[in-house]
Structure formats: structure tokens, C-alpha cells
Symmetry: C2
Subunit: 306 residues, 2 copies
């Protein structure tokens, strides 16, 4: 059997058929309505056993502790250094994240971007034995490419830090910085030696970019409604619903992490009437298209380039 030229890493299946049917329907729509919104962690690249952004933070913490050993006594930092998820949960993940954000306080945007790039150049995945850059999903790279070919505008709408995602989005996904919406750290404008300067604070602007915030922030920061929403977790629920709630065709694509052999097996929880509900169950209830990584994807990660 010959490999299909369209989405070659997607196995022939009802999922692939639904996706292609949608793409064909969308191609006749006016160009400005062709908008796709992708989550990042767990949707475009692997998020287990830890978010790569967390590894980046932990890496920076190790360096900071090397310069100032007293930092290891701070409870948030001690929990991170010990890799103690229970302790991090007890402290509160938001408090831990804000403490980690302090490590970059005062940095100029270009310095932060350079720090992420340097990390990405040397980082390897904790268990898969792959360079961090190679933990992106090959079928999703093909989908991004196909969307671009069909003149879609592609947005990355991530719960991760906006500037972290921007530092990798152009290189890994071909998505420019201004098409990325994430959790924002505020900047402070000042003048130094008469020149204007922006420096990072450790304050989050508004709220973390999850759930309903993803929808509101897409509108305020991008100004367009997607007709394709792609996600994998409870935090993507509203975005996927939003993609299907317009007048024309809409598709919600949910990645189901059901491949323990090639990736990880887990299900994220959404909230339904204040009760947790597995996101895969939400998907079936709302008629979303569910991507089984085990069955629908012939390949998970791209072949090594070197």
C-alpha cells in the first residue's frame, strides 16, 4: 500500500476521514475564517512526565542555587529540586510557578528568549531518550503543514508562559510569536541611560491561560474565532467548544493519550457542573473527534534529522 501524501503519519481511519472532510469543507470558506487554534503541551508535543517548561525552570533553579546556595532553603525551590510532586501540590502549583518566575525577574525579553533557546539546544526528554526538540508529534507537524497549505491562520493557545512558547513556536511549528497566546508575565517599562527598557516582573497579567480564559484571550489578543480547535486536556475544553459554536463548519479535535508503549497513557479531567469528568468523556458527549494516539497515528515522533 502506498503512503498517502496527505497527512502520511495518520493511519487510514474514521478520525483521519473526519479531519479530511473538515479540511475540504473549510477550504471553500473565505480565507479570514480559516483559523485553527492549537494547545501546545500534550497536543503538539509531549508533556509527560513533566512539562518542558518546568524542566527549563528547574534547570534555571539549579544554576541559581549554584550561585546562591541559600535558595535551596526556600520551600518552593526545595520541592522542585527534590522533584517532589506531592510537596509541590501541598505548597500549591501556582505558588511554585510564581516562585520559579522570580528567577527571571528583571530579564529583558531577548535575554529570556535566548535562555530558552540555549536550554532547548541541550535538553533531552527525561525518559524517551530524545532531544527535547524531537518530542513534537509528527502527525501534528503534518497537520500544521496541511493547514498552512490551505491558507489557515494558525494560533497557539497554551497554558504555558507566553514567552516560553514563543521562544520555540517559530522554530518547531512555524508559528510566529504574535500568533501565540499563553499565560502572560507582566513587563515593566523604564529608562536606563536614557534608553527605553522592558524588564520582566514576576507578576502574572490577569489569570493563567486555561479554560474560559483561552477563549476570552483568543478574542482580546487575536480577534478571531477558530473553526478548528485542537487540544488534549480539561484546560482546552472551552476552546474546543468555541471552535464548534460558530455559524459554519467547526471541528474539535481531542488527542487521547492512550499509547503507553510509544508515549504515555493518561486522561485529563475537565469540570462539568463543578464535578470532574474525563475529557475523553466530554469529547464523546459533545461529538468531538477523538484522536487515539495508539490507533490513529502511525508515527508519534519525527525521525531524527542528524
Amino acid at each position: 500500500m502506498s503512503v498517502p501524501t496527505l497527512l502520511p503519519s495518520w493511519r487510514p481511519s474514521a478520525t483521519r476521514d473526519a479531519l479530511i472532510t473538515f479540511l475540504d469543507a473549510a477550504s471553500s470558506l473565505p480565507r479570514p475564517t480559516r483559523v485553527a487554534a492549537f494547545d501546545n503541551d500534550g497536543t503538539l508535543w509531549c508533556e509527560k512526565p513533566t512539562y518542558l517548561q518546568f524542566d527549563f525552570f528547574a534547570d534555571a533553579l539549579v544554576a541559581a542555587v549554584g550561585a546562591d546556595p541559600a535558595l535551596r532553603d526556600r520551600p518552593e525551590y526545595a520541592a522542585v529540586l527534590g522533584g517532589d510532586m506531592t510537596e509541590m501540590g501541598a505548597i500549591g502549583l501556582e505558588r511554585v510557578a510564581l516562585a520559579l518566575a522570580e528567577l527571571f525577574e528583571g530579564m529583558m525579553p531577548e535575554q529570556f528568549t535566548a535562555a530558552v533557546s540555549q536550554f532547548m539546544d541541550r535538553a533531552r526528554h527525561r525518559t524517551l531518550g530524545l532531544p527535547a526538540r524531537q518530542t513534537v508529534y509528527q502527525p501534528m507537524l503534518e497537520l500544521l503543514e496541511e493547514l498552512r497549505r490551505r491558507e489557515f491562520t494558525i494560533f497557539l493557545v497554551s497554558g504555558g508562559g507566553t514567552e516560553f512558547v514563543r521562544a520555540i513556536s517559530e522554530d518547531l511549528y512555524g508559528v510566529p510569536p504574535h500568533a501565540v497566546v499563553g499565560t502572560l508575565i507582566e513587563y515593566e517599562f523604564g529608562r536606563e541611560d536614557g534608553l527605553p527598557v522592558l524588564r520582566r516582573t514576576a507578576r502574572v497579567q490577569g489569570h493563567a491561560n486555561e479554560g474560559a480564559e483561552k477563549v476570552a484571550n483568543m478574542q482580546t489578543q487575536l480577534g478571531r474565532r477558530p473553526i478548528l480547535g485542537v487540544g488534549n486536556s480539561g484546560g482546552d475544553r472551552e476552546m474546543l467548544e468555541w471552535a464548534c459554536a460558530g455559524d459554519g463548519p467547526g471541528l474539535a479535535l481531542l488527542v487521547d493519550h492512550d499509547d503507553a508503549d510509544r508515549e504515555f497513557q493518561y486522561v485529563s479531567a475537565a469540570e462539568t457542573f463543578a464535578e470532574p469528568e474525563p475529557i475523553t468523556q466530554v469529547a464523546h458527549r459533545l461529538g468531538w473527534t477523538v484522536v487515539s494516539m495508539a490507533n490513529d497515528w502511525a508515527t508519534i515522533f519525527p525521525a531524527p534529522t542528524d
Copy 2:
């Protein structure tokens, strides 16, 4: 003398030479660094005697008063209906603007965009005798076109309402909604009949997009530093300084409204050490390139298309 093919409405002058020298230098830079940031009111289109967004608001107010005459008793609305700038100043322009924003509270994004489009279709400039759409500056349209030809990414960074500017930016300037940063009105996410809905509030998110906010918001919402900054008023000062503060070439272009015959004659004030200073004086002090509308532009407004 033949008309130059490059920027044909820009008269041969030191200003045009400086602009072309910069464009040529920028064309050898890596593509992601080729970023231009434009103010809108008074930079891309005429802002006198009133902002077009104000006319849009006033127009909506007249319609609202038609439906509910009691609205005319509200002091902010009475001042707008009477065109009484002194009274509006006494009330406070921010309070007036927020009162006007209430007219659109509860609207969905698509409804607001449609309202702006309908207004733009029928609006005429108050004194120039031109359709509102035609009060854009022809030389600036040519500059936008030339920047696109040189693969610049173009951002609109306006003090105006983000969604108002987005509703005209693609049509008038070819700038897509997600490349527009303005003053943001918050949305509220909700569910109606089981479907997700976004509705406008009357709350401004953060602060008005002026001065230092323009620089901070460019970084948080777009993630790129411009190397060309184009503006005309005190609120553009920091953005223009920012465009020149990078490592490579940078150009700050300031439009000087010195053409009382063909447009309007006025100078906006910037603030220097808490003292007002004419923006043209700031420009000369900082070595910006000043565009004299009277001398540098052969044409101000585009020729009618119908």
C-alpha cells in the same frame, strides 16, 4: 519628470531619502527582525476634528437615545450629544469613553464588528467632504505596501479600541486582526443554551494603550520589537524610542500635521520630566525622521475609487 515607482506620493526630499535608506538597510536583516509598528489615528488616517471612533460612538448614542430618550440626561451622554468638548474635558475623557463603551455592553464580538462595518459604510468625514474610508493617508498606504513587499511584519498599535481598529484594519490597511494591539475591553465567557458565548463588558483590561503601555503591550501581545516605529503624537513617543533602541538599524518616523490647507495643523504634546513638550521638538532632540505633510507628501488622501 517621471513619477518614482517607489513610494510615488512621497516627494523627493531628505525624509524620503532617510526612509528609503532605512528600508534598504532593513532588507538585508533576517526576516523575523523586519517588524514595523504603526499608530493609527493621525498616523494612518485623519484624526481631526474628532476621532472616527468617537463619531462611531456618538452615532450609536444617537440611535440609543432614539430608543430610550432618558439616556440624554446622563451628563456624559449630554456632553457628547452637544459636541461640547469643554464639558467632556470637565467630566473627564476616560469617564466619557467608559460611558460610551456601555452602549456596546453585552454584544458578541461579531455583532460589534458588524456595527463598525455598517458605520464605516455610511460615515463621511465631518469637514473634508470625504467618505470616512477615504481619510487614510495615501503615502502611508504606499509605505505599508512597500514594507509588505520587503516581507516586514506590520503591527497596528493604537490607543483606540482594539476591536474597533480590527474591524477596519484588514480592509483599509491589509493588517489582520491578530496584528492589532489597542485599548482592550474585557469579555465575559458564559454559556447560553449550552453553547459558549463571549459578551463585551464595559471594563478596560489594564490601561489605555498609550505611551509606555504601547511598548509593554507590543511585547506581551506580539512578542516582537519593531525596528520601524511610525506615529504622530505624545502617546507614540515611547514606541518610537523603542523602535530605535535595538541593536541593529532602527527608524522612528513622526508625522507632523503642518498642512492646514489639505488636512489639519496641530502639534501633540509629549511629557518630558512631567513637563509638556511638543512631540516635534522631542523628535528633533532624539534625531527622529519627521514627515512634513505639507512638504513631503504630494498627495494626502487616495483618489476616489468610484
